[in-house]
Symmetry: C2
Subunit: 366 residues, 2 copies
């Protein structure tokens, strides 16, 4: 008979109990018994913070997403929050940043330097200022604490880790091509000329597929951030300003208030109809594509051959296509829903399990 294995305790703090954070808390709670039983991993939620409060000493109620109640709660001071999570007995402390905040990303280097791991779908650090990114790398390198961010590209799809594995095993990235916005994929999959483009944008907006201000999708900047993240993962020290981003928003609509913009949407219709006509004349389809190769990084509408992998996307699917030295004739393709609280939270959870894996937690079926 084997001796009982002492579980490895990982203390977790969640920043941003919004849709993604709440889904993450739920997933952790649901998976915790199996992880304890089969992987000898004990996940302990120690604290949750939103932009103004923090809840310490969370119990199962908090894990249920019903934060508050009898727990302590205080105006948030993020470093104090981090120190609280790290102050518990355990093998590791992990902060899950479920915000999209640049100011939370400002704390990463300090936390990592103090040995606190960070897992996040927040794109700000990995696509933001290179100096901050390098400071984060130095802090992580010095302490051994990890920053994982699988959820920044394609949400729960295996994209960042796949690229990491290709690079670490010595493969060479020739090009990465992606449809990295579910919203834009949906718009271009539907745009067949039967309805003006503005009507599709309005429909997507009404269905909640777009950001509250659809320009946040149509500008292509969110896609450009994802491309920067993939470039850095492949060792190319790109910044957002290095990406040639072709916004779909006509210049004259950029400065409008949101309501006025929604009103003025039909100004997009003529240029988009012209693009579609051109694509059809060439026998191809229109798609919004991010591309990184030797020639640089670009984001915008492209005319693709009808046989291209991106021509057959489903609904709001993301698609990422890695062309490498080993995958040169045919690319390695990952495809599927690339947004939504559940799959984004699953990416954060996967990152958390990678941290636990690095502490020796065993995750095999055998």
């Amino acid at each position: 008979m084997r001796a009982a294995v002492q579980p490895l305790v990982v203390n977790v703090g969640v920043i941003g109990p919004g849709k993604v954070g709440a889904a993450f808390l739920r997933q952790m709670q649901q998976a915790a018994p199996r992880l304890l039983r089969e992987c000898h991993l004990e996940l302990r939620l120690r604290a949750v913070s939103d932009s103004r409060h923090m809840w310490l000493d969370c119990d199962d109620e908090a894990l249920n997403g019903r934060v508050g109640g009898a727990q302590t709660w205080r105006p948030v001071v993020l470093d104090e929050f981090a120190a609280y999570v790290a102050g518990h007995h355990g093998s590791a402390a992990v902060l899950a940043d479920c915000t999209a905040s640049d100011s939370v990303a400002d704390h990463y280097a300090g936390w990592l330097g103090a040995g606190i791991h960070v897992v996040t779908p927040n794109k700000r650090a990995a696509s933001g200022c290179l100096d901050r990114w390098k400071a984060i790398a130095r802090a992580s390198d010095a302490s051994g604490a990890r920053l994982h961010y699988e959820g920044t590209v394609g949400a729960g799809l295996p994209v960042v880790q796949t690229l990491r594995d290709l690079i670490d095993t010595g493969d060479e990235l020739l090009a990465v091509e992606g449809m990295l916005s579910g919203t834009l994929a949906w718009l271009f999959n539907r745009f067949d000329g039967s309805r003006p483009f503005s009507a599709l944008v309005r429909e997507a907006h009404a269905l909640g597929y777009t950001e509250p201000d659809p320009r946040d999708d149509l500008s292509g900047m969110d896609v450009a951030r994802k491309l920067v993240i993939l470039a850095r993962e492949a060792g190319v020290g790109l910044s957002l300003g290095d990406v040639a981003v072709e916004s779909l928003v006509p210049r004259e609509l950029e400065g409008l208030g949101r309501d006025d913009f929604m009103e003025a949407l039909p100004a997009m219709d003529a240029p988009m109809a012209a693009l579609l006509a051109r694509a059809r004349a060439e026998g191809g389809v229109l798609r919004h594509v991010a591309r990184l190769d030797n020639a640089g990084a670009s984001v915008g509408v492209q005319v693709l051959d009808g046989g291209h992998a991106f021509a057959h996307g489903q609904l709001t699917d993301n698609v990422v296509r890695f062309a490498t030295r080993r995958y040169c004739d045919n690319a390695l393709v990952v495809q599927g829903p690339g947004a939504g609280p559940e799959v984004t939270a699953a990416a954060v959870f996967t990152d958390l399990l990678r941290v636990a894996g690095a502490m020796g937690v065993k995750r095999c079926a055998c």
Copy 2:
């Protein structure tokens, strides 16, 4: 200034220096300097073994694939080989089984029990006898040593780990559907009625796309093994005998010698032509599909809708489609070349890096 980090030494033994083993040795040698510099990981090749010899104290020459020369070499005794690799100073010993041998898999439980990790694209253990598989699990559980086998399904494509992450984060597998044989994918992508099926099999054979005896592909057993591996990863204790495998080899050709079989190939043409006619009458395409769901596990030819993800496969691509509770409307799809020495070796290498990761080796871009 930070102190110099002591590299983590991993001692590696390679069993089976064939095409995959040689590619793995080459990849390790090429990536080693970067891994040492950036990840503080020192990979040390200690020994290589084929079915009759072993080379101990390998130097760089051996890493070049030019094993032999001045090194010791002796008739192979696998456990002695394993003990030799594990006998070196280091943080971990890893054996890379690059064979397709069932008798090598018989040693896994012993090696894992002794704390020696195993990485392999060999399908025998993970798809073979359940009792042996459970003994392997117990040994791994007791010592903490890992068995990784990403290369068993889809070669270097992220399939096994992706399923592992879905399950560990609490997702629920509803169905997995795959085109898991590059050979069969190629045959059905090309089979349009313009040439008899036997002519395509002969062409694939001549191009080296099939096994030396094409029945090893056409029988569907190799695909069934992969399906068993995915099922077990998802917690379903399946055995090969539980898979409903519909062989493409007509019963009367099963017992023939290889040359006689190649001669008698046209006996496949009439049934295959009938299948194609049926698919066309239904407006669909013919594909060789492996499927696991609540109804069970099956492998065989199916008629698929022209809009199905598998209808657009490229050349010899593998495709795996995970339908889960979280990925229910649209599945998570991984696609790309799923065979070949380079990508298979890359899977073994990725597994090796996962072992190193569990020892604390840091693998992040930041």
